[in-house]
Amino acid sequence: MKYIIFGLFTIFTVKLSAQQKQFSKSDNGKFIYYQVVDSQLVDKNILLQRARSFVDLAYKKSMKLESSTDSSVLAKGNMVIDKTILVAGHPSGEISYNLVFEVRQGKYRFWLTDMLFIPYQRDRYGNFVPATTIGVPLERTPGKLGAGAWKDILNSTYNKVEKFGDEFKKYLATNRMEKIKNKAETISTKKW
């Protein structure tokens, strides 16, 4: 029984710590997830190429390249936000966003902003689909009745965006060609 109580306590603690994270606001009052990354080991052009590849290949189903220069990438995307009930859950909505990536020799920065929330509802077949096509800015102040639900949406969004940011940084730090080469290596049992 004490293990169960300990398990529940751990889940509760993790949930509390997750709630403490929140978005900063940009100059124009919008929520922003902003990161500057020191990247001395990778050339500027390779970082730019990897950023484009991230949009065009890794996230091709949920992102679209808007524009690209020799030092920046601008893309639009969306991500699904989940509603979790202890161990399982379902999608509660999606967030559309703008991703801006800028690179200089030795470092790069990126930020996600202009985030809009589109709630999902369950359709007649039991699938979760967008309830509307018009998104609500994440910065809006909800009424008293919807404040709790909105707080959950902000928390879920932050966690998802943070995870996305980590994946983006990892992608930019990884040499895909080397990774593919390593993956293709086979082990022969014919020789010792």
Binding site: R124, F128, T133, G143, G146, A149
Partner: protein, 341 residues
């Protein structure tokens, strides 16, 4: 309690373990619970001529609905069961006769052959019409005549091809309406064309021909909704059903308009105006209903309060007044609470 919690943790660890080994999505659990109070202005429960919300002056149950969904690679399933009056005897197929069992809302498997082409087989919510059994899927708590008299669910196999985000086509073979297993074989053919001409506007043109209510018949249906602004949405449902045998009553035609306006983040007001007629069949004459329903949706998290006033009219006097005499008008007030999770 201990066993229950242990089972949940075991399920959690199994789900996590599976997720690490495959490309499967987590198990989705969702559902709803609803309850209502209704007061018929003539104090007569028989004045309800449409599905659900039947009891007068009673705090009554809707249903508890539980849905599971999982996707592994290209294959997925949905299983959805409901218990309670709305999900049992009032939803037609009752697994054990007598209204004491449950109703399967959805039970099907799906396979995405490509991003555009998929096939689905099993028992599914019908593709006909605007309203559904689940109170979470409807704006109004009471239901329309079009919903009540059309199919609720169809068992069958269907193929869907998505041309783009703006158009898709579905075609399928189905059993007769609302049955878990066919009573007249796989005897109906159905199709659905979806078009989304502009952002926010979606239209479904549906047809189902074969075994259905009253024998063999054909239903043609238009269901469309347009989110015109952030606050205003307009939907329309129109349908025509013809039973092959002209002497069998049950053929109908009708249309319902659904304007909805969000007055705040939490409160949306909506109106349903409906015209519906049963066509003449043999010695049974044509009879027509008009109904106006004013509904509010007041949301707080997963909970939605639905106060509603409904007025029905039929010149052939199918309703009853307070003294029990036949009357051309019926009216009711209801307050429902629906929790979705």
């Amino acid at each position: 309690m201990k066993k229950f919690l242990t089972a949940i943790f075991a399920m959690a660890s199994t789900t996590c373990a599976l997720a690490q080994e495959t490309t499967s999505s987590p198990l989705e659990i969702s559902g709803s619970v609803d309850t209502y109070f209704k007061y018929d202005f003539a104090k007569n429960p028989l004045n309800s001529k449409t599905s659900f919300v039947t009891d007068h002056n009673s705090v009554s149950l809707g249903m508890i609905d539980i849905a599971l969904k999982k996707k592994t690679g290209k294959a997925s399933f949905v299983g959805e069961l409901s218990f309670g009056p709305r999900g049992q005897s009032q939803s037609i197929p009752d697994a054990a006769a007598g209204g004491s069992s449950f109703n399967i809302q959805n039970l099907y498997v799906n396979y995405d052959f490509t991003d555009e082409f998929s096939m689905t087989a099993g028992y599914m919510g019908t593709f006909i019409g605007y309203e559904v059994i689940s109170p979470v899927g409807n704006f109004n708590y009471s239901t329309s005549y079009l919903f009540t008299n059309g199919p609720f669910q169809n068992a069958g196999i269907k193929a869907t091809y998505k041309f783009s985000d703006k158009a898709s086509l579905m075609a399928g073979l189905f059993n007769d309406w609302n049955v878990y297993s066919a009573t007249r074989g796989v005897s109906a053919i159905g199709g659905q064309l979806m078009v989304a001409p502009v952002e926010g506007w979606t239209a479904y043109i549906n047809a189902l021909s074969g075994a259905g209510f009253g024998g063999y018949g054909t239903i043609v249906d238009l269901t469309t909704a347009y989110q015109i602004t952030e606050k205003f949405k307009l939907a329309l449902n129109a349908a025509n059903y013809d039973i092959k045998d002209n002497a069998v009553p049950g053929s109908y035609a009708g249309a319902a308009l659904y304007p909805q306006y969000a007055v705040s983040d939490a409160v949306t007001l909506g109106l349903r105006g409906e015209y519906f007629k049963f066509k003449a069949a043999g010695a049974v004459p044509e009879t027509a209903f008009t109904a106006v329903t004013l509904t509010a949706n007041i949301k707080s998290g997963g909970l939605t309060f639905i106060p509603e006033v409904r007025l029905d009219h039929n010149k052939d006097k199918p309703f009853f007044n307070k003294s029990g005499a036949a009357a051309p008008n019926g009216g009711q007030f209801s307050l429902a609470a629906v929790y979705a999770f």
